[in-house]
């Protein structure tokens, strides 16, 4: 990690703060529009999480085995979500 140029840590901090404020505003503005609310909040949370992972955890500079160590549980989580979906969408079995 010490081999690469310094990341824009403070810019990322500003973006994270801005997205947090935007999330709260979004939650108030679109409270009646549920799909817009959920999609907007989901996307903003995903962008924030990606910024933390890529820049603060330096995933942007990692390759190979580290990505494999991350992607493997992500695949398992995806399988678990697919497993949960029928229960969530059809709670009474129909």
């Amino acid at each position: 990690m010490s081999e690469h140029a310094p990341s824009p840590y403070y810019k990322i901090f500003a973006w994270l703060t801005a997205f947090t404020i935007a999330e709260i505003a979004w939650a108030y503005w679109f409270v009646e529009f549920r799909i817009v609310l959920i999609l907007g909040l989901g996307m903003m949370a995903a962008v924030k999480a990606a910024m933390v992972g890529l820049y603060y955890m330096h995933l942007k500079y990692e390759r190979g085995l580290i990505w494999g160590a991350i992607l493997f549980p992500v695949v398992l989580v995806a399988v678990m979500i697919v497993g949960f979906l029928p229960d969530a969408l059809f709670p009474y079995g129909h």
Binding site: M1, S2, E3, H4, P6, S7, Y9, Y10, I12, F13, L16, T17, T20, E23, I24, A27, V31, R34, L37, I38, L41, G42, M44, A45, K48, A49, V52, G53, Y56, M57, H58, Y61, E62, R63, L65, I66, A69, I70, F72, P73, V74, L76, V77, M80, I81, F84, D87, A88, L89, P91
Partner: protein, 216 residues
């Protein structure tokens, strides 16, 4: 004539790799699955619940308190990454300063969470008293309470462990254990701390910003 070894340049490493880092990432991956289990349970129970009964859910100071808690964790992430940057440049004093601020951020977060929990628990107690007065029975324990305390409690436990972990690293740094070329433990504690921040980003959205708004 140049030596034969000079003809083959050493491969340029674009990233550092240590067994400790791989182990930490494997741990974080398994930990993420644990969190996803809890968050998945929260979502399934929330979506399938005809009436998401959450009588005492009235965040103190509104959503402002948890938004401030989020801001505190974001600040502690930037202080953590600045601490790592400091020791990469060999600046031990700056490392101690920024690590100390990161620990302070974790303690502030935990204090605010304790305040929030005490509010919820006292609300539950008041509700139970009112319920017993009118019906003679105990107030029902809801899925919301179970999942809320599980998710935020599990995360709070991680923050607590993180504060202890950071404190140990701070003490070792104070003893002069880390240099510009030997600072792997600082990098590892940073990975753990940023993971805690990342999980809170997801929890904040799902538990605090969505609860009244997901479709039944």
């Amino acid at each position: 004539m140049e030596p034969a070894t000079a003809a083959v340049p050493a491969p340029k490493r674009e990233y550092s790799f240590t067994p400790g880092k791989l182990a930490m990432w494997l741990f974080l991956g398994s930990d993420a699955m644990g969190f996803m289990g809890l968050i998945g349970a929260y979502m399934v129970l929330r979506i399938t619940s005809a009436n998401w009964f959450r009588p005492e859910f009235d965040p103190p100071l509104g959503i402002g308190l948890t938004a401030f808690m989020t801001f505190v964790l974001i600040c502690s992430s930037v202080t953590m990454v600045t601490a790592l940057s400091a020791i990469q440049k060999g600046n031990r004093k700056r490392l101690l300063l920024w690590l100390g601020l990161t620990i302070l951020g974790g303690v502030v977060f935990l204090s605010l969470q304790a305040y929030e929990w005490s509010h919820f628990i006292s609300g539950k107690t008041e509700l139970a008293a009112a319920f017993a007065k009118t019906t003679g029975g105990a107030a029902p324990f809801t899925n919301f309470q179970a999942t809320f305390f599980s998710c935020t409690g599990f995360h709070g436990l991680h923050v607590t462990v993180g504060v202890v972990y950071l404190s140990c690293i701070w003490v070792r740094a104070w003893q002069g254990a880390y240099t510009a070329t030997n600072h792997s433990p600082v990098e590892l504690v940073g990975l753990y701390w940023h993971f805690v921040d990342l999980v809170w980003i997801v929890l904040f959205t799902i538990v605090y910003l969505l609860p009244d708004s997901v479709p039944n």
